[in-house]
């Protein structure tokens, strides 16, 4: 039996994305930030935690590209190392919430009896502002990178589930799903081979945006001092530490803020590009 029609993917998708200058720039930014985070011990010019009180609050210059903080630590190195935590949190939250959200979305969208309960739970979870729910969950679970990932995954799963459910509702009614049913294909096979394969496009787009939102939320939690352990450098904790020195050493908040903004902007550009490439109808509108 013929498989369901597939959307643009593989080499075709790469070609479509490569045609958009903004997407190429977005991907390049992500590549540079990702590579710097992975290769942090090699790329960073100094130990991010090395104290050098004699050179505290040194402005940006050749010795310290982004300057130093109140303990004389090299901000450039700290921004690179902080990227490891922030990007890991964003990536893991995007992955976990996509897997869980797809499961609940498929269940709600495909099985009519499960639709109402899944939808009501999704509605209820979305009534909590993301930071507030994350704060409460981290308060209950304790502040650590893993718990921030768990908390933010719980926060973003309903958002993915809503997208997955809406897409499944459309696919469920299509002729090839009906044909598969008539041929006696098992429900789970239909879900995996026919439904899931055809809702991948909106899910990839949603995962990209979830990555971006999770990074912003993690930064917010760290800024509030209720996220990861304050001794772990993240872009949010760096801004929190620098807020006392905004007047005298503005560079302490400037560079981590630029890093978050660049990363989130790049993800949004790539997300938009993916949506344009994968769903040309929607791209005309937004």
């Amino acid at each position: 039996m013929a498989n369901a029609p597939a959307h643009a993917g593989g080499p075709g998708l790469v070609k479509l994305l490569a045609q958009r200058q903004s997407v190429v720039i977005g991907l390049a930014i992500l590549f540079v930030l990702g590579a710097a985070a992975i290769l942090a011990p090699v790329v960073a010019p100094a130990d991010p935690n090395k104290l050098a009180i004699a050179s505290r609050l040194t402005p940006p210059g050749w010795a310290h590209l982004f300057g130093t903080d109140e303990y004389g630590r090299d901000i450039f190195s700290r921004v690179i190392f902080a990227g490891r935590v922030s990007l890991t949190v964003g990536l893991c939250v995007a992955a976990f919430s996509t897997v869980a959200g797809v499961f609940f979305g498929l269940m709600g969208g495909f099985f009519r009896r499960l639709d109402a309960p899944v939808s009501r739970v999704v509605d209820a979870m979305m009534a909590f502002p993301d930071i507030l729910l994350a704060i409460a969950l981290v308060a209950a679970l304790g502040g650590s990178v893993l718990n921030v990932i768990i908390a933010l995954s719980v926060v973003y799963t309903p958002r993915v589930a809503r997208v997955a459910r809406a897409s499944t509702l459309v696919i469920r009614e299509l002729t090839y799903v009906e044909a598969a049913r008539a041929l006696g294909v098992s429900t789970w096979r239909i879900l995996a081979n026919h439904v899931l394969r055809n809702i991948v496009s909106p899910l990839i787009v949603q995962a990209t945006f979830t990555f971006a939102y999770a990074m912003l939320a993690e930064a917010g939690l760290s800024f509030l001092g209720v996220g990861v352990d304050p001794s772990t450098p993240t872009w949010g904790t760096m801004i929190n530490e620098g807020r006392k020195y905004v007047s005298s050493a503005g560079w302490m908040i400037l560079f981590p803020g630029i890093a978050i903004t660049l990363c989130v902007l790049a993800l949004q550009i790539v997300g938009d590009g993916l949506r344009d490439a994968l769903d040309p109808n929607l791209s005309k509108e937004l």
Binding site: A127, P129, I135, A139, L224, V246, I260
Partner: protein, 313 residues
């Protein structure tokens, strides 16, 4: 229509029930005994037992759950351990800065987004359109607390146009307090205008190609009248929806922005409660804010009936 309203009210009750259950579970996820955690290591066993009894923690979980639901139904959100006051009173005392910040931010976000979105759609593909979409994307990428710190430095500390932080003295008049809210509202308004710009542009694009707009133009109506009186009126539903959804984003933004500007609102209350392990307060703030969100979205649904004659249930 009455049937639709009744169905929506029932749906709202079910959602609130799940919200309350979620809050109950979250608060009880915390490892260890909440009473011991709240009282600290120096508390005597007798103190812990007394607090456990006061909080109802000596009861089975099922009893605690139904007693929690019963309390909420009667408007009782429990007693704050730190403030030693009813949570409703603690929340009411801290609500004003958050409410003002949220309202002013929404007004500023809409005041920026609506004209930009309409003009963007009207001049689709122009330099203005591309510029506004790019700016909107940038605004949505900036952490509100970072933008807040920069604005605070340049517009308050530097230029002296706004108070640097706080909410004024307790005897300050309403207008004096509003003065403290304007800068944080501008920050949140800018960050949150991005989503509204994109949706209002999309909604206007949809409508500007409709037959009734073409007919209005053919009748010789002025462009202003066509766009504002006809097109915008029809595009209002998705715009109102997204303004409603922005409420949750604004509350999240308000929680972190309050810290930047030292506003004594619900954000600083909940962060303080987390650090002090004052669980009844965390629970209360979650219930009130999620409840408000559910209520606002219900009211928006009802608003559809009023603003679009095509919507009939």
């Amino acid at each position: 229509m009455a049937r639709y309203v009744a169905k929506r009210v029932l749906g709202m009750i079910v959602v609130m029930f799940i919200v309350l259950t979620t809050v109950f579970i979250i608060v009880r996820l915390a490892p260890g005994d909440p009473a011991s955690l709240m009282l600290g290591p120096e508390a005597t066993p007798a103190d812990v037992v007394a607090l456990r009894a006061r909080m109802g923690l000596d009861q089975p979980v099922v009893v605690q759950y139904f007693s929690f639901l019963g309390q909420i139904a009667t408007g009782n959100l429990g007693q704050s351990i730190f403030f030693n006051q009813p949570v409703t009173q603690v929340i009411a005392a801290r609500a004003e800065p958050t409410v003002l910040l949220t309202l002013f931010s929404i007004v500023i976000a809409v005041a920026i987004a609506l004209p930009v979105g309409i003009l963007s759609a009207y001049t689709r593909g122009s330099l203005f359109d591309q510029g506004s979409l790019s700016t909107a994307m940038l605004a949505a990428s900036v952490p509100s607390f970072w933008l807040g710190l920069i604005f605070q430095q340049y517009l308050a500390t530097g230029a002296g146009w706004f108070p640097v932080s706080g909410f004024g003295s307790p005897s300050a008049t309403f207008f004096e307090r509003v003065h403290f809210i304007i800068l944080p509202s501008i920050v949140l308004g800018i960050v949150n205008s991005a989503l509204i710009i994109r949706f209002s542009r999309a909604a206007m694009l949809d409508v500007l190609n409709d037959d009734f707009v073409r007919t209005a133009r053919a009748k010789g109506m002025s462009e202003w009248r066509v766009v504002i009186r006809h097109a915008l009126k029809s595009a209002l539903i998705p715009i109102v929806t997204v303004v409603g959804l922005t409420f949750a984003l604004l509350i999240s933004g308000a929680i972190v922005t309050e810290r930047v500007f030292n506003l004594p609102g619900l954000g600083s209350l909940v962060v303080g409660a987390v650090l002090r392990r004052d669980y009844p307060v965390i629970q209360g703030v979650l219930v009130v804010i999620a409840g408000l969100y559910v209520l606002i979205n219900f009211l928006i649904d009802m608003l559809y009936l009023a603003i679009d004659p095509r919507v009939k249930y």
